[in-house]
């Protein structure tokens, strides 16, 4: 089973102070750590699990700058066989839609049974690249996949819906799934695999292989701004009954109940 996994290197902003740069359209990245996007690492792991079961190869693809190769190399250490970087520097202004188009023109030249992507990138939070890519490649898809049970040409997948509910689908292959976190436990790379990965070559693709004039951009950032938020604790006073009532009112007000 040949699987392509689309991954993205993203700044780790969950625990960081995010500041807007002078252009007002991007963030300061100097002091941020970068790492594989969270759900992408689950997608990679799911591919490795299937490879262990069925054999085949795993190809990881990412549209990114030079340092993305570090992330791709980690993917190689964790079980991918091939890695491709599409040079982001060749394509100004990339949004989710454009990323999908770029990936499409690379992937359509490859052979595959399955394509995995993460269900959301933590930087731009679009949740669209995977599904768009499936549509561009004209293959069926399922997003937010939380369980996969596959045979040679069909897959039973569970999608994660809201409120603890899952939707069970039966999909023919080749197909694209966007993978939800928690589907598995991403593995560690062993030192042997790390050494092996260190020697592998990463294929780099630039604009010469992708006609960038045909690519469409859906969105452009006009401005970034910090959402208004106050974080001063408000102590609710009074008797237990009084303070509890006040709190209940707040719940109601905020639509939390």
């Amino acid at each position: 089973m040949d699987i392509i996994v689309c991954i993205k290197r993203v700044p780790q902003t969950a625990e960081a102070e995010v500041t807007i740069d002078s252009s007002g359209k991007d963030i300061e990245k100097d002091r941020l750590s970068f790492d594989i996007n969270e759900s992408d690492s689950y997608a990679l792991e799911e591919a490795v699990i299937l490879k262990e079961k069925f054999g085949g190869t795993i190809t990881v693809i990412s549209v990114g700058y030079q340092d993305t190769e570090d992330t791709l190399r980690i993917a190689l250490a964790k079980g991918a066989d091939n890695a491709i970087r599409v040079k982001a520097e060749d394509f100004e202004h990339i949004d989710g839609y454009k990323t999908s188009q770029i990936l499409k023109s690379v992937i359509e030249k490859e052979s595959y049974d399955l394509i995995f992507a993460g269900c959301i990138a933590t930087d731009d939070a679009y949740s669209q690249v995977g599904v768009t890519l499936a549509e561009l490649l004209n293959i069926p898809h399922a997003s937010l996949v939380i369980n996969i049970d596959t045979s040679e040409n069909r897959a039973d997948v569970n999608r994660e819906l809201e409120e603890g509910l899952m939707g069970h689908l039966d999909i023919s292959l080749p197909a694209l799934f966007t993978i939800q976190t928690g589907i598995n436990e991403p593995r560690y790379a062993s030192l042997i695999a790390i050494r092996r990965a260190a020697k592998k070559e990463i294929k780099v693709i630039g604009q010469e292989e992708i006609n960038k004039d045909n690519l469409l951009l859906n969105t452009e950032i006009e401005e970034l701004f910090i959402p208004p938020k106050t974080k001063e604790v408000e102590i609710l006073t009074g008797s237990p009954a009084e303070s509890a009532s006040k709190l209940a009112e707040i719940f109601k007000e905020k639509g939390l109940i």
């Binding site: 790492d35 042997i192 695999a193 790390i194 050494r195």
Partner: protein
């Protein structure tokens, strides 16, 4: 499926060589006596077998963290990150082999390849992103000093007081920083703080294996210190102490470092600090690994405590000074919080409580945090205090 062999039968010289290059150079000295293993704090944790003595030989075979089986590899990496870096093994090793360093060599590779526990990954990222392992805002770094008349550091002051991240951000530990500046003010010492300009010393992330980010952090601090003309730094945490004193010079640092217990004992000895009140409690002192074993500071904390009138000074029999037992917080242990049956801190607390003490005196924010959190869930009246807090009460 066939049973997989759990041992790699091939020797992998490439992994061995790279680990040696990364700091595991001691491996060939090992003669497999196993003293390290029974000296290790994990030996005292009833349900946990920690095979310290295997690491040298397995590194020499290139067989560290090299299982291709996911579960086995998980176990191996768990082992690599169990080490709390207390150096109890090194203290007794006949050949001076530093197992923490051997493990750190492997950790460095694993960190580069995103193959270490999530919890630790998060503290590496936080330290990198906001300059402290708790993910607290940088601009709040001096909040502990609000309303305490703590001056900003100016060139020409005698000391920079560097509280470390726990005393800067964590509520219980902030009291230690506050007591410390209280003492400094009462003894008319000229000192100041850098506040938002300071960054975590980076000790813990270096122990975890994040060498590159440590280097960044170290350089940032060194620059901040030298830009402000700092020549002497007073630290509350032994972890800052050892990093500044023993590791920063490799990155170009040129300043003197004093641990608070060193300086306070000096103030008492020279009569610059008068103790006015007595402290009528039984106090047991816990030697922090990083202050004691790593930096040989055993007497100063004892001298301070012994100079306080009324204080009955106690020692943990068999487990004091260089044979002290770690609290379990080092090298990431503070964050890893192993399952309750697997906590070194419980063993240590029992030893401390068995002395009949009313107060456990510590000289390290990690130990304070570890003990404070653990005694809360124990049925005991024993309290934990930093030596600076005890001293401050007696002024």
């Amino acid at each position: 499926m066939k049973d997989k062999k759990t041992l790699t039968t091939e020797i992998n010289p490439e992994i061995r060589d790279i680990l040696i290059e990364m700091g595991a150079e001691d491996i060939y000295k090992c003669y497999q006596c196993g003293k390290c293993t029974s000296a290790c704090p994990w030996f005292q944790v009833e349900i946990y077998d920690y095979p310290v003595y295997k690491f040298s030989l397995e590194t020499a075979l290139g067989a560290v963290a090299s299982s291709e089986d996911k579960k086995e590899l998980d176990k191996e990496i768990d082992l690599i990150y169990r080490c709390v870096g207390c150096e109890a093994c090194l203290e007794q090793c006949p050949h001076g082999i530093s197992t923490p360093n051997i493990l750190r060599a492997a950790r460095r590779l694993l960190v580069d390849f995103d193959s270490f526990p999530e919890t630790l990954k998060s503290i590496v990222q936080k330290t990198h992103n906001v300059g402290n392992p708790f993910g607290e805002h940088r601009e709040n770094r001096a909040d502990w000093a609000k309303g305490k008349n703590v001056p900003d550091y100016q060139e020409g002051m005698e000391f920079l007081y560097f509280p470390c991240c726990l005393p800067a951000y964590e509520a219980r530990n902030q009291k230690v920083a506050q007591a410390t500046v209280g003492i400094l003010q009462k003894s008319n010492v000229s000192y100041g703080i850098l506040g938002v300009q300071e960054t975590c010393c980076g000790e813990v992330i270096r122990r975890i294996g994040a060498e590159n980010i440590f280097a960044e952090v170290a350089k940032a601090n060194i620059k901040a210190f030298s830009d402000s003309g700092v020549t002497k730094v007073l630290v509350t945490s032994p972890h800052c102490y050892t990093t500044f004193k023993n590791e920063y010079p490799d990155f170009g640092a040129d300043f003197e470092v004093l641990h608070t217990t060193q300086y306070l004992s000096h103030l008492i000895e020279t009569g610059k600090l008068k103790i006015n009140k007595s402290f009528n409690k039984r106090v047991v002192y816990h030697d922090p690994c990083t202050l004691g074993r790593k930096n040989n500071i055993y007497e100063e904390p004892r001298n301070i405590l012994k100079s306080i009138p009324g204080l009955e000074f106690l020692e943990v029999e068999d487990f004091n000074r260089n044979l002290s037992l770690c609290c379990g917080a080092g090298s990431g242990g503070l964050w890893l919080e192993w399952d309750k049956e697997e906590r070194i801190v419980n063993v240590r607390l029992k030893q401390l409580m068995d002395t009949g003490a009313e107060i456990i005196a510590v000289a390290c924010p990690y130990c304070l945090q570890m003990f404070e959190e653990t005694i809360k869930s124990m049925d005991t009246d024993i309290q934990v205090m930093d030596i600076a807090e005890i001293l401050f009460e007696c002024l």
